[in-house]
Symmetry: D3
Subunit: 250 residues, 6 copies
């Protein structure tokens, strides 16, 4: 089993961290094919960052399928380009927000999300509503830390996250907490232990769900909204040498 | 990894069929602990059947945890007793309807469900709405066959299912089809090939999702709606010998 | 007119209290046929308690119809087994949560619910959403008292309820309050007077609504989701001597 | 018990018919105080008709309370002026659409509505959605007959209604049908017998629900959206002699 | 271009203020045809006030079309009689609540509303939900000032509004604020400057949207819910001399 | 007044057609600043096309603001990149889908959409739901013609569109029709005349709405979800010479 985990941003350190978590939680025998979007923003914080990461992300999806990926994980909590990635991919594509929401629905009646910046709150609210979990999400909270600052002082980060987790538990009655950024994944277990509240990380869940769908043999439906992109001037180019093109760009 | 798959009904043949599919799609190394609810109705077709299967189902959940289960699958598309089972269990509990809905959302923009009897249609519609997928479910169709008649003439069953699948594709624009009964699981691949429409079986998905959650180390949240049942006269009895009690009843 | 009021739990004292309220608010000439579920939990606090009370509850519904009931009231705020009861019954079946929600919608623009334990909050939220009143319910609050403790010190109970009622009024803008437990019914008038907020009790409303539907001559629709249970091994048994069977079990 | 039933239109024949049904289905001992809005349109077919009937309707509500009404029924399926009537009234006010929707929810999983003119379809759809039953209403159909033509040839009317009822059953899977006009109430039983589908009339239900709320002692909440109208130039005038004023106008 | 702006209440001072704002923000060349409902309540605060203003408002709509209006604005935040006005009008009719909600959706992810009296809060919540913006509206707040008191001490009013605006920003995360009363329109710019939060006035927006629709050449659809009122006894009378009739009544 | 209309695709002919319609329906005195995304796909048909057009579109938005644009219109019915564009822009940004939905809500109770390819149907359904109009949209239909084929044989295109419009009217009860592609705008009037159904074009509406918002002086809120993109490696670059960069790329 080969699961492609793509970091939609270009940050090398965060990519490595994502790879570490993905490999830690993957099933034995699963190969994690880790990529980053070299020409994308260094972190994804808002609609424009999201938009700019998608074109290189689609190339990574396609290149990974050429390398034999059985499934894909988009390792950013905004699930950027997930619809487009599903058009480009034959194999299943899992976003970490969508995966974490599914986990939260399976483990609890009501959950909250803790994310980085306030500007991401309405984006996540809209995602969660779109995934049909609006009525079970009690709130989306921000610790007001930029994505790339999360691992500057890990203890301080953990403390701020724990504070918001406890507030979501006490004020909103959350029964579980979703970590709203791929950069928080490595803190998941620690926060769960320290707060006594079940904490959910979308990255590990997405890797396992990708394995699950691929293991059964499912593919993305090509009958409708996720049909392969049409061939046209300026359109997605399935035939180009993805890796080569990116080398040039990077 | 040990996954408990409980057939909420008492039918031996259907239990075996469920076990076969569960073992076929489980990951290598996973042990399927298969049970049935010996005092439950022979098939689950409606609210009363559902209600009658839940007390023995809770005993099976508890007994399986005593035997070391890492996760549970409720192998009936009505997801009977799922909230109660999550109270009784420490480990994750997955219903096959909820699992199949999550798969459909990951693979397609819009899906339909094909089930057995018309009486189950409003039950499934309500479930799908409760899971937040009402806006992406295009319809729930019935082939008007009782659950236990599904495997009397497999080719005839496949033909009737294929007819409804094609209708859902043509009329409702479904991009994927969920099979709305655990008794249809073994036909999933065949129907997908014959109709050209991606067909989703909740049973295999639920087994893999249970593995996924257990593999990461998640438990059911005990902070709120799924807290363990309180000890009281007539309440759920965690200390009794579940297997023994059932032996007597069966 | 004969209205069957079934207490889904097995507690004798609470059953008597329910009977007292039901008789107090029934129309002149209505006979209240009061039953309890002798093998059910002593109180219904969570999904498992609910699940365990339904099988005996269905027997009580059926037995009451054999005794000539014109309608049924399920006297527990979780409306346990209401779908299954509607399958078993020919006559209308009213749950006290659903009835109280209807009353609240008729008397106010926005309401809140005050219930016993925090664990019941997500259950009630889901019920209210399912009844289509999610957008008009401003909150569900718990006094953190077990059901059977409500009448230990009635003045203390009233004080705690009044505190939550006033909070719902002040903070959530509730225009009316629903009492979220059958064990609170006898306090309804007193709380309304003491707080100045209209307080709604589902039990009296359900009795009157059952009279209303029966008085017009309505029956539960048997065309679809509430069709009578199919006859099958382990299925609901319409022909057994309900009362007799229960005597043995009790 | 004294229930005020107000026909929002000015038609004398239809008022009498409404009175007949109301008296037929009221509880023994209930006095029906029947009024019509003498200056309103002859029938309510659309938003403008609705708007024009409300000012005289509010006067009728007020006058009836002065005469001792314990509750009010607005006998038009558009529930015209129901919010304003609840402001003016101290006692409960029931609309026949809202009442019939509540009955349908209590008796069936899914229902459809059959009304008079196509122009009323979006009005009723919006009402039903507002009452929170949009997800359980399968359709609103029109027989394309004006309100006042319904009783010109009762057999022809019954035939056209029966045709739409059967279509709603067959095509939409409706388990019960709501008659979407007060002028159809007298056909309710007949249609139910002839089609085999439970048919619901909101007028009889509203009378019984008004009795129910009044019998328990409930009043309309005055804490918020239904607070009494403020006294102001051109505002609602509680002190005028309602009956006298109307005599002059009629 | 000729836009009819009707103040649904009868207050002369408020009408003039509305006219001033409408003319200030209309496009160059647009003629504002300003009317008031002489027989309506002096201010619209609740359902009954709304109901009483609609009949004269419909006459104003019709009379304005006879004078050549290309579009209509209903200058009260409750959008009173908007459906009926759309039946009576051939030209587009815009309510200031609906217009302001559309503006808020175009400029921000999430908004709040600040209105006058608490009694209007549930009315506005229901309007916003009906316009499909419930999931993006974070709250409706009241300054607890009657409509006609808003301009008694403009500085005090501005201070109270600013306080609520800042609270909505801080507590609810509102990204923009809608002023929930036509009487607040003249404070829009000032409040935006003083609070640093984008403040939206529905009156200016509605005038511009009416110009927009009329400029393109759109009319109200007459195929369904907004078809012209049917001619009947007591129904809307298109042929009467609107101005004459009102003169007599005023 | 200067309104920037950007065609998200790279097709020159379609850009000219969009410019023609925009200029035809703009207010007198409005200057239309017309651009296209030279490196984008030749037409936008699906998620991947959308994703690929957004980066150049953001550059066009920024460049137009540098040239003095008072507002922006994104002239593609998928509203691609609308959130990102609102981050980049100070001035209002209007999508033609969102604008047309607002118009449809102002002119009718219920509408349908007619678009080009079936693959766009779920994309549009999701957009319309996100705009809160799901409950008033009766259907989204496709004529099964690629975007760039629309003007090959204008009469044939008009005939196919008229056929779907009439079907939406007859089958779904649509009271107005939205044209679901910028390439259909020039047919709007003709189709309305030929079918007798009000037909709505989002492009002209968006131009007028952009004028409206800019005319009043509104800007996009920078407090939250549409805050300006953060400056970072690979992030949106406000300081580059947009026009110059594009010249090189084109």
């Amino acid at each position: 089993m080969r699961i492609h985990v793509v970091n939609p941003n270009s940050n090398v350190g965060m990519t490595e961290q994502i790879g570490k978590v993905a490999r830690q939680f993957a099933s034995p025998g699963t190969v994690i094919d880790l990529t980053r979007c070299a020409t994308a923003p260094a972190s994804i914080e808002g609609h424009a960052d999201e938009a700019l990461c998608v074109p290189p992300l689609l190339d990574e999806i396609h290149a990974a399928e050429l390398r034999g990926a059985d499934g894909h994980v988009i390792a950013c909590f905004d699930d950027p380009g997930i619809g487009a990635a599903r058009e480009v991919a034959a194999k299943p594509v899992i976003g970490i927000c969508e995966a974490s929401v599914h986990v939260a629905l399976l483990l609890s009646c009501r959950f909250s999300v803790v994310t980085t910046l306030a500007r991401s709150v309405p984006i996540i609210e809209r995602l969660v509503e779109g995934y049909g979990a609006g009525h079970r999400c009690r709130g989306v909270r921000a610790v007001d830390m930029p994505v790339l600052a999360l691992d500057e002082d890990v203890d301080a980060t953990a403390t701020r996250l724990a504070t918001e987790i406890m507030a979501a538990r006490r004020i909103e009655g959350a029964e579980a907490i979703i970590l709203g950024c791929a950069g928080m994944s490595s803190l998941c277990k620690r926060l769960s232990v320290e707060t006594g509240v079940p904490v959910i990380d979308g990255l590990s869940a997405a890797v396992r769900f990708a394995e699950a769908l691929a293991g059964i043999g499912y593919s993305t439906s090509k009958l409708g909204g996720y049909a392969s992109p049409l061939i046209k001037t300026g359109g997605f180019n399935f035939t180009r040498d993805c890796a080569g093109r990116k080398t040039v760009e990077a």
